[in-house]
């Protein structure tokens, strides 16, 4: 499944479903994020996501942000999984590494080549290692 760059951010479409509504959302693939999916209220509330709790998170400046934690279905590249979804009053829509792992997807992000793709993680290319003695 192909995505695209928007202002140097790799983006891809995902479908998020709560207890009723379903919506296609364009999200940033954030490989520096070890979470699942992050949504702002304006996107999350209409979906009727199931509320699981609230979480305290410490920021770099020492302050604490408390956010709501929900669960919902996420579909990407034909694969549907149940994911934790962190929702904030305002935030970027981010796909974290744990969601990529749940989806079993490998992100190919080539900034210089303007290329974004998610593929099956099982379709990894075989890396051919050369003879160390042949290094020039």
């Amino acid at each position: 499944m192909h995505g695209n760059f928007d202002d140097f951010l790799p983006k891809i479409d995902i479908e998020v479903q709560g207890q009723g509504a379903k919506k296609t959302i364009t999200a940033v693939i954030d490989t520096g994020n070890n979470g699942y999916l992050q949504l702002p209220y304006i996107e999350a509330f209409p979906l009727g996501l199931r509320l699981d709790g609230l979480q305290d998170t410490s920021l770099a400046d020492g302050s604490i942000v408390q956010h709501l934690v929900c669960r919902g279905s996420v579909t990407c590249d034909g694969v549907t999984v149940t994911s934790a979804i962190d929702i904030f009053p305002k935030c970027h829509i981010l796909i974290g590494n744990r969601l990529l792992s749940l989806l079993k997807r490998r992100a190919i992000i080539d900034v210089a080549g303007n290329y974004v793709e998610l593929t099956e993680s099982s379709a990894l290319p075989t890396i051919q290692l050369g003879d160390p003695g042949e290094v020039n």
Binding site: G53, D56, S63, Q66, H67, F88, R98
Partner: protein
């Protein structure tokens, strides 16, 4: 001390403020010192109604464990060791439900 036991009483009857206040109290006063040694970086889900909790390295798995043990509810969640109580008694905090 309540631990990783079975309970059907969830935190659903508490307001977000009560879940926040009780969750922090249970975490800081009862669980943090012990769990930071054995489960640092893992996710703690507390049922504030019973003070029982579950722990897992994965947040989704921790939530699944909590639902299995306590039923559907509204839980307090924290990554163990990631937040510290301010020594000065003051800490800037932003709440999710305040627009």
């Amino acid at each position: 001390m309540a631990g990783e036991g079975n309970s059907s009483t969830s935190s659903g009857r508490f307001s977000p403020d009560e879940v926040s206040q009780n969750g922090e109290r249970i975490y800081f006063e009862k669980l943090k010192p012990e769990l930071e040694n054995s489960h640092r970086g893992e996710f703690l889900v507390i049922n504030v109604a019973t003070e029982e909790y579950v722990v897992d390295a994965d947040k989704l798995a921790a939530l699944d464990k909590a639902e299995e043990k306590f039923g559907k509810g509204f839980f307090y969640i924290v990554q163990i060791g990631e937040i510290q109580k301010s020594l000065a008694g003051f800490r800037k905090k932003t709440y999710a439900w305040q627009f």
